[in-house]
């Protein structure tokens, strides 16, 4: 049996703990407040305001004029919306799987590279430091149908490369090819995930006679499936918002009059409507359509992930 003083002590402890927790919460919010304020002012408010603007005719300089759902109706009859959306979906469908597979393959190789891993990690990441505008210019140089490096290399094998930058059928494949320049970030994340796979699992599989391929397929990939899922979602969103490289190569100042339809990504069309034609209301509606598409695709990916993604922490 507890003494009276002991009872008093135990009754006081939760109160003290509660006070301490409240203090911690206040401190946490204090430290978070710069981000919270920034998020509210620079993200949530513009996003909410763009929803209102999507219902208006607005040219930046004059007051928004409420037009209801006209902008959304206009999208249905605008052939460039379907063209741009089609281009973007094509790019996303092909570039994301290629990106994930290539980054994973290189990370698996790097994981076995031993001492040289540091050098290759740096080498693979370096292109990520290149500004996207420079990548756009490089697209034109490397993929030039006449004298580009890619076609020169293909020529060594007797293959006559296509006009990547001018043939509408090859513009998107060319951009997908160039997107592989920036695999570095995904490689580093995959590498970190692979390094976190418990060694004892591989050791056990080895003792059971599993070869390298089986260990990769049955142990490493399931163990890093959460990372694969994360990178798939992040890269899908990024692919849907592709802009700079294609804009620089085909719609920028050096190509002010030559805009190849095949490179008209959704982000580029949105930008043109907003800042070339000053149809900011219509551009806001376009932005919301993109949001809905990205959200739907993300939801589908999340739904599918339940069947394929393994979370160690979720196991009993």
């Amino acid at each position: 049996m507890l003494s009276t003083s002991s009872k008093r002590r135990t009754a006081k402890q939760p109160r003290a703990a509660r006070a301490s927790t409240k203090g911690d919460t206040r401190a946490a919010f204090l430290f978070l407040s710069p981000w919270i304020i920034g998020f509210l002012v620079f993200t949530l408010w513009p996003v909410g305001y763009s929803a209102y603007l999507s219902l208006t005719d607005y040219d930046v300089l004059n007051n928004p004029n409420f037009v209801g759902l006209d902008n959304y109706r206009q999208m249905l009859s605008d052939p460039k919306v379907s063209l741009a959306l089609g281009n973007t979906i094509f790019y996303t469908v092909f570039s994301v799987p290629i990106h994930i597979i290539a980054a994973l393959a290189l990370a698996l190789l790097l994981n076995r590279a031993g001492r040289a891993a540091g050098f290759f990690r740096t080498a693979f990441y370096l292109p990520n430091m290149t500004p996207p505008v420079a990548v756009g210019v490089m697209v034109l140089l490397l993929l030039n149908g006449q004298n580009g490096l890619v076609n020169s290399v293909l020529g060594w094998f007797g293959i006559q490369g296509p006009d990547w930058t001018t043939d509408p059928n090859w513009v998107k494949p060319g951009l997908i090819l160039m997107s592989l320049l920036t695999l570095g970030g995904s490689i580093i994340i995959f590498l970190a995930a692979l390094r976190a796979v418990p060694e004892e699992l591989e050791e056990s599989a080895k003792l059971d006679g599993a070869n390298a391929w089986q260990r990769t397929l049955r142990i490493k990939l399931p163990m890093i499936s959460g990372t694969i899922f994360f990178l798939t979602i992040v890269n899908t969103i990024a692919a849907f918002q592709s802009f700079t490289e294609a804009y620089t190569a085909f719609f920028g100042s050096g190509s002010s009059t030559y805009g190849n339809d095949a490179a008209l990504f959704y982000g580029i069309y949105l930008f043109q409507q907003a800042f070339t034609f000053l149809h900011m209301g219509y551009a806001s509606a376009l932005a919301w359509l993109l949001f809905v598409v990205v959200l739907l695709v993300t939801l589908i990916q999340v739904r599918l992930s339940r069947r394929f993604v393994y979370y160690e922490s979720a196991q009993p």
Binding site: T43, L44, P46, V47, Y49, S50, L53, Y58, D59, V60, L61, N62, N63, L140, N144, G145, Q146, N147, G148, Q160, D163, T165, T166, D167, P168, F230, I233, V234, I237, F240, Q241, T257, Y258, G259, N260, D261, L270, Q272, A274, F275, T276, F277, L278, M280, A283, S284, A287, W288, L290, F291, V294, L295, T298, L299, V302, S305, Y311, S313, A314
Partner: protein
């Protein structure tokens, strides 16, 4: 955190991020009006912020210094670099307009239609700017609904440039590629064009599509738009015929894709340019390229003549820059005097003298200055230009001055950017093999007319 909670959190973060990235930020319009008076005798003071101009050479520096001297009581602040439309419009919308902007004349009409720049009628009368000295084509490009919105500065025109050695090898001369006979150009492009190992090695004739499409249309007696800027005429027979011809030039050389890829691979501004490397037969090009060629490859095989219409008359498409005063300009009086000084005959003469001196120092010829001020152009030509028609550079100068006197321009309209995009899309579809000229231009006509109608309705509705 459970897997479900983790997924929910991740989804929430991603959704917000996606929305944030795809959202459009906006600013609030500033409806401040300018009530300042413009007086040529007033002593001006305060600050003047100039946006979109750069002092990269002696012509710019001399005039800029001259303008600063004319505004002795004003502190002039130059935001160097070409005009960033996004930055400019944001600054106007947020009530932080620069005092004056320097931009492409083709942009001024769109700015004017939306009220981003103010009419300069009071500025012109108050500062006693002599608009009769300005080139009419240049002034028309910055005039909308009877008001002038810009003070023209440089003027750009096109001339024909060709490689005489390649011409001679093919049994041709300059008259075969000057534009007066389209049949001769077609024949010349085929005889000058060469391939090596299945790849294009020499471009016979580059019709410079889509950029120079308006020039081909005018050469064929057509126009992209009516004289009042209200009716698109993209589907007219002259326009369709011009596109059919200019696009076919590429088809006979392996297609536009091959020609553009080859063109893009050239060292356009360097010693290995298309003329120095003997990889281009002929093309029409803006006259400023003469200076580039003279600088980087003075001994290259290149000759010059005017571009001609199908009747054999010299022809060029006028484009260039202008000064405009934004809505909400804090110091419009100083801005107006600055524009006046930068474009005055006296200022251009000082700039020309500085250029002559610089060229003489480098042992290079002075190829003239081409401005929106025709009085200045004439004085500069009379006083400084020494064109020897026996030399290729002398012929370049003569051709440029003739082109300058034979230029045309399309009228300003409130849907300038959309109108231009409509015809450019049509041209791009044809040269990329995605559509036929008549069909592409018919579609462009619909888009262009819709944009014009909306633009004029908005402009007239706004009064």
């Amino acid at each position: 955190m459970s897997a479900k909670a983790a997924r929910t959190a991740l989804l929430s973060v991603l959704s917000v991020a996606a929305l944030a990235l795809s959202g459009c930020a906006t600013g609030q319009a500033n409806h401040q009006t300018t009530s300042s008076s413009f007086d040529s005798s007033a002593q001006l003071k305060g600050k003047l912020t100039v946006m979109g101009f750069g002092t990269g050479d002696e012509v710019a520096t001399t005039r800029f210094d001259n303008a600063k001297a004319a505004l002795s009581g004003v502190q002039v602040n130059l935001l160097k670099g070409s005009l960033d439309i996004q930055q400019f419009l944001s600054s106007v919308a947020s009530g932080q307009s620069p005092d004056i902007i320097y931009g492409d004349r083709g942009q001024i009409d769109s700015f004017a239609a939306r009220g981003a720049v103010i009419p300069l009628d009071d500025c012109i009368s108050g500062e006693k700017i002599d608009t009769s000295s300005f080139r009419k084509t240049a002034l028309d490009q910055v005039s909308l609904n009877g008001h002038v919105y810009g003070i023209p500065e440089f003027n750009q025109v096109e001339i024909t440039m060709a490689n005489p050695v390649l011409l001679k090898q093919a049994g041709l001369d300059m008259a075969d590629i000057d534009g007066s006979s389209w049949d001769k150009i077609t024949a010349a492009s085929q005889s000058l064009s060469k391939t090596k190992d299945g790849k294009l090695a020499v471009i016979g004739y580059d019709s410079k599509l889509p950029d120079f499409f308006p020039l081909w249309v005018k050469a064929n007696g057509g126009s992209l738009i009516s004289d009042d800027g209200k009716k698109a005429t993209l589907d007219s027979p002259e326009v369709v015929q011009a596109l059919t011809f200019a696009a076919a030039i590429y088809q006979k050389q392996g297609g536009f894709g091959a020609v553009k890829a080859f063109r893009d691979s050239a060292d356009f501004f360097g010693k290995g340019n298309q003329f120095a490397s003997n990889t281009l037969g002929a093309m029409a090009m803006e006259q400023w390229y003469v200076n580039i060629l003279n600088d980087v490859s003075p001994k290259a095989d290149v000759d010059f003549t005017t571009f001609k219409d199908r009747q054999g008359a010299p022809l060029s498409f006028s484009s260039g820059s202008a000064w405009a005063i934004p809505k909400g300009s804090p110091n419009p009086g100083a801005a107006c005097r600055f524009a006046k000084s930068m474009t005055s005959t006296d200022s251009w003469m000082k700039a020309a003298a500085a250029r002559v001196q610089a060229r003489e120092k480098d042992g290079k010829p002075f190829t003239g200055l081409f401005t929106g001020n025709q009085m200045a152009d004439q004085k500069i030509k009379d006083q400084f230009v020494k064109a020897d028609p026996a030399t290729n550079w002398g012929r370049a100068i003569e051709a440029s001055y003739t082109a300058n006197e034979s230029s045309f321009a399309y009228p300003a309209n409130p849907a300038g950017a959309e109108f231009k995009t409509a015809w450019q899309d049509a041209v791009n579809h044809v040269i990329n093999g995605q559509d036929q000229p008549a069909s592409a231009l018919a579609k462009a006509q619909q888009v262009a007319q819709k944009a014009l109608d909306a633009g004029w309705a908005q402009l007239n509705g706004a009064g």
